[in-house]
């Protein structure tokens, strides 16, 4: 820490905390309503500034019990399976998307080759086409590949949709890493592949973490494709199950809110673990070499 950031940092720290607190209030306020909805029997409707259930006797865990099927072994077992499905599908999506995108991003950052420009442009263009009713073409393609009704097929679809962003993101990260490091390694006798795997890849770890998180999230909350491409209840992911609380005429908002909270907990845990590992001060080790 340098001398100057110590000086006058008390006031600054207060300001930063104040700023962050405002942001936290903005981030949490609507979520508090969701939590209230999940915890209360009737939900509250009079205009209130602070969302809390009416009184202690109004707080209930019934909605959580309903969603997890507590008390009914068969339903709890199904819920557990669907949770595992969600985790497996989302982690596999993150892994597949990163595995597909990283080498491509590296090549696009470091090599000159025929078709690089148009490839990059084309990839950006794919993001510009709104996917109105793209479920049916995807269904046909997966049918042709014999991947319909399989989680592998779903993972491939999710990963493919995440790849263009992942490539751009990782390419930017590789561009920000000084070339010297890899060149030095190669002068020392490393092959290009070794330079990529041993030097560039570790230095790009924060960006890879962000990309993986992005791919994970795109799979974690998706339900239309999952419901369309999967054909058995035991293969469904949690968002599909959650969405079934929304009916044509009525929606079980309490159950939906409880489910939404359950669904977001693993993400927060994951992020909490991942940020310590990957977002703090890795640069020191990576780039300084």
């Amino acid at each position: 820490m340098s001398a100057r950031s110590k000086r006058g940092s008390a006031l600054e720290a207060v300001l930063v905390h104040a700023l962050l607190l405002v942001a936290v209030v903005y981030a949490l306020y609507p979520v508090l309503w969701v939590v209230t909805l999940a915890l209360s029997k009737a939900g509250g409707i009079e205009p209130r500034v602070i969302p809390v259930p009416h009184g202690a006797d109004e707080i209930t865990l019934d909605n959580f019990r309903l969603v997890t099927g507590a008390g009914d072994p068969e339903r709890s077992w199904l819920f557990a399976r669907q949770l595992v499905n969600s985790l497996v599908v989302s982690f596999a999506t993150a892994a597949t998307a990163v595995a597909i995108a990283t080498p491509a991003a590296y090549a696009l950052a470091r090599f000159e080759f025929v078709g690089k420009r148009s490839g990059l442009r084309g990839m950006l263009l794919t993001q510009m086409f709104p996917g109105v009713a793209s479920a049916v073409p995807l269904y046909l393609i997966l049918d042709a590949l014999h991947l319909l009704d399989t989680r592998s097929g779903l993972v491939l679809v999710y990963a493919a949709t995440a790849v263009p962003f992942a490539v751009f993101q990782l390419r930017g990260a590789f561009l920000a890493i000084p070339v010297d490091l890899e060149e030095a390694a190669m002068v020392d006798g490393a092959t290009r592949t070794q330079a990529f795997l041993k030097v560039a890849l570790p230095a790009a770890r924060p960006a890879i973490a962000v990309t993986a998180l992005f791919a994970f999230m795109s799979a974690w909350n998706e339900f239309i494709l999952a419901a369309t491409l999967l054909g058995r209840e035991s293969a469904f992911t949690l968002p599909v199950v959650l969405q079934s609380y929304v009916g044509e005429y009525s929606t079980q908002w309490g159950a939906f809110a409880a489910g939404a909270i359950l669904v977001s907990v693993p993400v927060m845990v994951l992020f909490y673990v991942a940020q310590r590992q990957l977002l703090s001060g890795l640069t020191a080790g990576g780039v300084k070499g």
Partner: protein, 753 residues
């Protein structure tokens, strides 16, 4: 290279082996899909189990969420992967027929069975002389009232209106219903002798003009005047969603509500209630709700299977009906259940709870006798949106009923415009596509013939090994579906019955279908809204993301890890429920935002009545949903910046701001730019916030281009070609914009993308 391949293969193998278990296909037998949940699902499964035991046939049951139901049916059935039988509401039959998802049920409902079901339900599933489903249960509205607040059952609307201005107690409304929806307004409309769709389904099917927008004339105007009066005189709260209606009733803030049998399941023992048919309007007539009938439909494949037909038939029999009534609390279509009730049945042996349950069903059964079955036609889907826009406009007091309805009718006619019937010459399309291909070929040839091309190509080989799998994945799973989608833009009609119209769809969109270019719902007006939407959102996403990302990067910050996790919560919670929480917060009478405004001494605002406030509501929701992503990107990018550089700047005497502007920002640029560019593109096409929060209110003005495309695809007679043309135009616009912005941004932007 070996390592790279090994890595990729390893990951792929691990991913696949983890995923493969569970892919082995057990024999499925007859496949049944349904959108049920809870009691209805349990009762259905019971009936299926009994059928399996009796017939020795295997049945696979799958519950599909309502929101994905039609998409899944539409994708699976034409490919022969669909169910044999599926359960759905009869009013969707028009769409099912349009997409060829159903066949007549044949001997699942023989003539001899006709007396088995309530006549009104048989009429509902009969269309053009054929029976298309085995009726299971009917759903319609009735009046729930709270006997503690209203000791006597309200028989007329005036009984309720007499309790206006909170005569029953502070904040207690005499009546609550979803007054701004066409489905519930129709009960009033029917009382005045009006109708929403023309030509209600006649029992024998056939005759009469095809259903279309019929909410015009004096009856419709009077019904709207009445609805406005109810809201204006504080008999009924405004903007009441289904959920709000329910909570008002359960918390004793509404003495009576109009809702369907599904409400009873949520009430349980929270509040005492009785159910009676809808009240009448003195001197006018009884309010009559719409009736929908859930039925078992047969897919074309399933109709060929004897077992599937037998299953459909057995689901309508007396034993299954009794289960569905007792466990699923359905108002079953099978008459034997009701005749057993009339005879007193086993009433003596019942618990008070079960007795109440039966009384409820009986009340709804009575109400259904007077209800109007929703007609069946593909032409009715496009009625809803213009009708609701008219209702909302009148309820807000923005237009007289006559003007609002005339406008709605014009909008319906505009949407239902018949695409060119006659065969269109493909010549203009061929010319356009040909020119494009020629230009592309020319560019390729020039590139190939450029000096040193072979050498370059040879030098590119190592790079290709790195990009090959990404290229294949994107081509097959991203580009191919898009091309298939784009190709549809040259056709009109449904997927199954497409007619080539060449560039006709494009011409219609770009000429605003012959109306003034900046008229309501025109492409150009929507484009302006979309651009404003994108600019405002992205600017806020990036600035909030940058500020928070940088604040969180301070190495000495206490509680940093906690802040980070709390701040990504908006991204982590499924947006469907949070978007609706935001919508609730902007409610005029019950929303938290207005509560805060009032606490601060300001006037409450009717957020969705004006474009500016509705737009602001949409933006604050979308900014909330999107800033954590940008924040995480900034955090990731900041960690890649070497501290040496910043320290060097400090040593050179740069101020904090100078260091940020001259050192940090340029270094962030390569990582941030793709996120900003892609973020803009995604925001441009972000329809679900607009759908869920403002829903286009007021009057469709907050709709953006992509929500317009969705409406054409799903809410307006499945005009997928028109929707696809919208998508292609959006694509072209964005491509053009990125090119222009790339020029303006100069080398840097080009380098990043």
């Amino acid at each position: 290279m070996k390592h790279l391949r090994a890595l990729v293969t390893l990951i792929a193998v691990v991913a696949m082996t983890v995923l493969l278990p569970g892919c082995g296909e057990p024999p499925r037998g007859i496949v049944l899909w349904h959108p049920y949940r809870g009691g209805e699902e349990a009762a259905l499964k019971k009936g299926v189990l009994r059928f399996e035991a009796e017939r020795g046939l295997k049945v696979t049951v799958l519950a599909v969420p309502y929101e994905a139901y039609l998409a899944k049916l539409e994708a699976a059935i034409p490919r022969g992967n669909g169910p044999d039988v599926f359960i759905g509401p009869h009013n969707r039959l028009g769409e099912y027929l349009l997409h060829r998802l159903v066949a007549p049920v044949g001997d699942a409902f023989p003539d001899a069975d006709a007396p088995r079901y309530e006549p009104v339900t048989v009429a509902a599933i009969t269309y053009e002389g054929e029976r298309w489903a085995v009726p299971l249960a009917s759903k319609c509205g009735a009046l729930y009232y709270n006997p503690r607040l209203l000791p006597e059952a309200p028989r007329t609307l005036d009984d309720l209106a007499a309790k206006r201005d909170f005569a029953l107690g502070p904040g207690i409304w005499p009546l609550a219903y979803e007054s701004h929806t066409a489905y519930w307004h129709s009960a009033l409309l029917h009382a005045y002798g009006g109708e929403l769709f023309g030509a209600p389904a006649s029992t024998e099917g056939g005759a009469g003009a095809p259903p279309g927008f019929a909410m015009t004339g004096e009856a419709a105007e009077r019904s709207l005047d009445k609805a406005r009066e109810l809201v204006a005189t504080r008999v009924v709260p405004d903007e009441a969603s289904g959920d709000l209606v329910k909570t008002l009733f359960t918390t004793g803030k509404a003495a009576s509500v109009i809702s369907g049998p599904w409400l009873a399941g949520d009430l349980e023992d929270k509040v005492p209630y009785e159910v009676v048919p809808l009240p009448s309007i003195p001197g006018v007539g009884a309010m009559r709700p719409f009736l929908t009938v859930d039925g078992v439909f047969m897919t074309p494949e399933g109709a060929k299977s004897e077992g599937a037909r037998a299953l459909a038939r057995s689901l309508g029999d007396a034993a299954s009906a009794a289960e569905r009534a007792e466990i699923g609390k359905q108002v079953v279509a099978t008459r034997s259940y009701w005749s057993a009730q009339d005879g007193g049945g086993d009433a003596a042996a019942l618990s008070p709870e079960a007795k109440r349950q039966r009384a409820l069903l009986v009340a709804f059964h009575e109400a259904s006798a007077d209800a109007i079955p929703m007609p069946v036609s593909p032409a009715m889907n496009p009625v809803w949106v213009p009708a609701e826009q008219a209702i909302r406009k009148v309820l807000r007091g923005d237009a007289s009923p006559r003007d609002a309805l005339a406008e709605a009718k014009a909008r319906y006619d505009d949407v239902m415009r018949t695409p060119p019937r006659e065969a269109v010459s493909p010549a203009p399309l061929v010319v356009v596509v040909g020119l494009a291909l020629l230009a592309a070929a020319f560019a390729v040839v020039r590139r190939v013939r450029a000096p040193g091309f072979r050498r370059e190509l040879a030098a590119s080989k190592p790079a290709y090994k790195y990009v090959l799998h990404a290229a294949i994945t994107i081509l097959v799973l991203v580009v191919l579906p898009l091309v298939a989608g784009a190709a549809m833009s040259f056709f009109a009609g449904t997927r199954e019955e497409a007619r080539f119209v060449g560039l006709g769809n494009y011409v219609e969109i770009l000429t605003a279908r012959g109306k003034p270019l900046l008229s309501h719902g025109s492409f150009y007006l929507t484009l302006l809204v979309t651009v404003a939407w994108t600019v405002v959102n992205v600017a806020l996403h990036v600035s909030i993301g940058l500020v928070l990302g940088i604040a969180l990067a301070r190495p000495v910050l206490r509680l940093r890890a906690i802040y980070r996790v709390l701040l990504i919560i908006p991204w982590a919670v499924p947006s469907y429920v949070t978007a609706l929480a935001w919508k609730g917060m902007f409610h005029r009478q019950f929303g938290a935002i207005n509560a805060i405004l009032v606490a601060l001494g300001a006037e409450p605002i009717s957020w969705f009545a004006k474009f500016s406030t509705a737009f602001a509501a949409n933006v604050s929701t979308n900014v909330w949903l999107g800033f954590p992503f940008m924040m995480v990107v900034v955090m990731g990018a900041l960690t890649s910046i070497s501290k040496d550089v910043l320290e060097a700047a400090e040593v050179d005497g740069a101020t904090r701001w100078q260091a940020f502007r001259l050192v940090t920002l340029p270094l962030l640029r390569p990582t941030l730019l793709p996120a900003v560019v892609l973020g803009s593109v995604w925001t441009f096409n972000m329809f679900n916030v607009v759908f869920l929060v403002s829903g286009g209110e007021p009057d469709g003005t907050t709709d953006i281009l992509v929500s317009e495309a969705y409406r054409w695809a799903f809410a307006r007679n499945a005009q997928l070609g028109y929707a696809a043309a919208y998508a292609v135009i959006i694509f072209g616009l964005l491509a053009l914009m990125s090119k222009v912005l790339g020029r303006i941004g100069g080398g840097d932007a080009k380098e990043a993308i």
